[in-house]
């Protein structure tokens, strides 16, 4: 990364004149005197401002003309490779693998310099959460460095392939550090692609980065580690705050979980039930009555085909948009219908056409909770007759991911109704 990322023209000159670069801690005088960190800028910035992060955690743009004095207090080399200095393994403790994919949880460096390069090496991890040292020997590996809104089904495949390569290892479990935005989509994919994976895989994110006092990074990581060490189960889990408090961390079944709040630490919720496990002050409370995977044997099928659309139906929805999907070669459509699983009569014509084109049509509900039932009202019965498959209480995002996976495996009709990884409650 450049020492002056995003700066140009006057602002670049200003930094160079004052021998200051991105990442430096500075004392800055405008009307008052404050300590701050120089942040990188983005391509679309003008050249009259510099961006600093104050101790409060807020980024502020300061007009160069208003800066009376600036002086460098300390400097970091943001391009320096982090040294790996894992603590000495304790042979008494189990081994855990930690894969980092990016996101807030892995963005300690980001919050100091604005760079999105995660640095969740073993060294960094232990420096953030020294308590882990007493629970397990953790090997850490950076897979990639993306906020999860930028992850694609191709990334899912890479994560699954990496995990598959460890299916016969001596690890007690795997933690995946992941951005929270699409963590539940990834969890769903791994659930289908790695059905029966012998050891628990726990996705962990954080809603507040580790340089903030309210960060949930450490408590979520510790809970995930304890869960792996103490619970005697396998499956794909999402481990995040259960309540506002640090005391209860939920381990959700990966196919039954959604991010339901934009900013709260307990943003993730198990839909239509309680979390499968709760880690309460280090102890594991089991709520799940059933095993996660419906088949014990590990049968990886790491395939994905993205010719699947998730369509949220609404009044005024134009059936032509489904025609576009047919024209573009889509092979499956998951509808988020209304109520018990309905779409308007104006859609019947295009539904027929889609069926004639061999498109798989599945129905979920835009109601966040509850089960589809297409037998109660005439609309539902009509749609059943037209060939739409009701997907009971599978979450729509899970249904989308499952259809991508099932299509990749070449058997979308058969696989969509099978209960593979607790995507249907019983």
């Amino acid at each position: 990364m450049s020492d002056y990322r995003g700066y140009e023209g006057r602002s670049l000159e200003f930094l160079k004149q004052n021998k200051i670069k991105v990442g430096d801690t500075v004392k800055i005088t405008t009307n008052s005197e404050n300590m701050a960190t120089i942040m990188p800028r983005y391509e679309h910035s003008d050249d009259q401002h510099i961006v600093v992060k104050f101790k409060s955690g807020y980024n502020v743009g300061l007009e160069i003309n208003n800066i009376k004095k600036i002086e460098c207090i300390s400097s970091i080399d943001i391009n320096q490779k982090k040294e790996l200095s894992p603590t000495k393994p304790n042979p008494q403790l189990p081994k855990i693998l930690l894969l980092s994919t990016g996101g807030t949880i892995a963005s300690k460096i980001d919050y100091r310099t604005g760079s999105v390069t995660p640095a969740l090496t073993a060294h960094d991890l232990y420096s953030i959460v020294p308590e882990l040292d007493d629970i397990a020997n953790i090997d850490a590996e950076v897979l990639f460095s993306e906020y999860s809104e930028n992850l694609t089904p191709e990334h899912w495949k890479k994560i699954a392939e990496k995990l598959d390569s460890y299916s016969k290892s001596d690890y007690k479990g795997v933690i995946i550090a992941h951005g929270t935005d699409t963590m539940h989509y990834t969890a769903a994919f791994l659930s289908f692609a790695l059905a029966g994976f012998p050891i628990p895989i726990v996705l962990v994110g954080s809603q507040r980065s580790s340089d903030r006092p309210s960060s949930d990074a450490a408590s979520n990581l510790i809970a995930a580690t304890k869960f792996i060490v103490k619970s005697n189960t396998n499956g794909i889990f999402v481990s995040m705050h259960h309540t506002e408090s640090d005391d209860d961390i939920a381990c959700h079944f990966g196919t039954r979980v959604r991010k339901n709040h934009t900013s709260k630490r307990n943003a993730f919720e198990t839909v239509g039930g309680v979390p499968a496990f709760i880690v309460r002050q280090g102890e594991i409370i089991q709520n799940a009555k059933n095993q996660y995977f419906k088949q014990k044997q590990y049968t990886p099928k790491i395939n994905v085909d993205t010719r699947v659309a998730l369509v949220k139906y609404y009044p005024g929805y134009d059936p032509k948009l489904v025609q576009d999907l047919i024209n573009q070669g889509y092979k499956a459509i998951i509808f988020e219908g209304t109520g018990l699983g309905h779409i308007g009569k104006n859609m019947y014509g295009i539904i027929k056409k889609a069926k004639e084109s061999q498109v798989f049509l599945g129905m979920t509900s835009q109601c966040h909770d509850g089960r589809i039932n297409m037998a109660i009202y005439e609309s539902g019965r009509d749609l059943l007759h037209l060939g739409i498959t009701p997907l009971s209480d599978m979450i729509s995002e899970t249904a989308l991911v499952k259809a991508m996976w099932a299509l990749g495996s070449g058997k979308v009709d058969d696989l969509m109704l099978a209960n593979i990884a607790s995507e249907y409650t019983e």
Copy 2:
């Protein structure tokens, strides 16, 4: 409606031979003897079965060959026009207008005969809910007879035009009987189209029809009526069960409410807060701190333009689908982004194109709750720079409807950020 709707071939012959028609109550003997009602069938049925509704409320198909005996106990003429026989008005009581649009709440006849013709005349209403007689003089009018999954923006306009014609009446308020599937979309439209409407408009639905013991039709109607009579407010409300009990009925602000469960009676929830009012055993509890409409003056703008799409973003979403929207002349797109309001980097190119084509781009979140904040992460800042408008905590369905209305009024950019009818919390 035909006396034998949907029956043909052998099953039609069977009914005729036994002098039984759709809607009749019959005593039917198979392995046991039961009372049941003959239901209509649908075009796609075979001719070996008849469909009956047992007292349990369930519809069952019976194979003709297994019916040992069938006899008609009582018969109704399903084609007979209902007589209007309103009770004599009580001059001491306020007047309320009840408009019926269809849905389960208006489907008493439906559940007896399977017809979707609602029959919520004054006569029917009083026969279902005689308690209303003591609260208000109710004039009832049938606007149309559709389950709400079949309602379109054109229906919204008709409802609004009808209401506008009563803006200077002596009614104390208006109740709209409405299917629950899209009730919140209609409520949002009326909120914008009829901003400042002087008397309360309360949409009422039911999750269980009035012929079932657990029906919520009566309790919701009574609560809506009491709310209109006793509360001294105006606005657009949705009145449905607040809890599983009949005691608490919530009156939600019409722009802040979603159907969040497919089947529960308390399916509707105010997003990010408590319902504006609760009717608790007839008494009105006010939670709302602010008036619903931000301007007092009634300024109807009954326009709608459906060239608006609601796009739920997900990993693997193909930017080409946005190109299709541009090609088809869409003028506004509301994204349901991830987390705080993000979509992937792969979308940046098409976002630029959409902006060049003068398409309004708004951002909401697929998280059910919480506020958009696009200033925190680089993705959000990039999207802001590309010209996406963050819609704070406006519900995505409300944002879709508002954009259709604002586009119809010709000022989408100006209107989307204005707080007109409590669509933004303060």
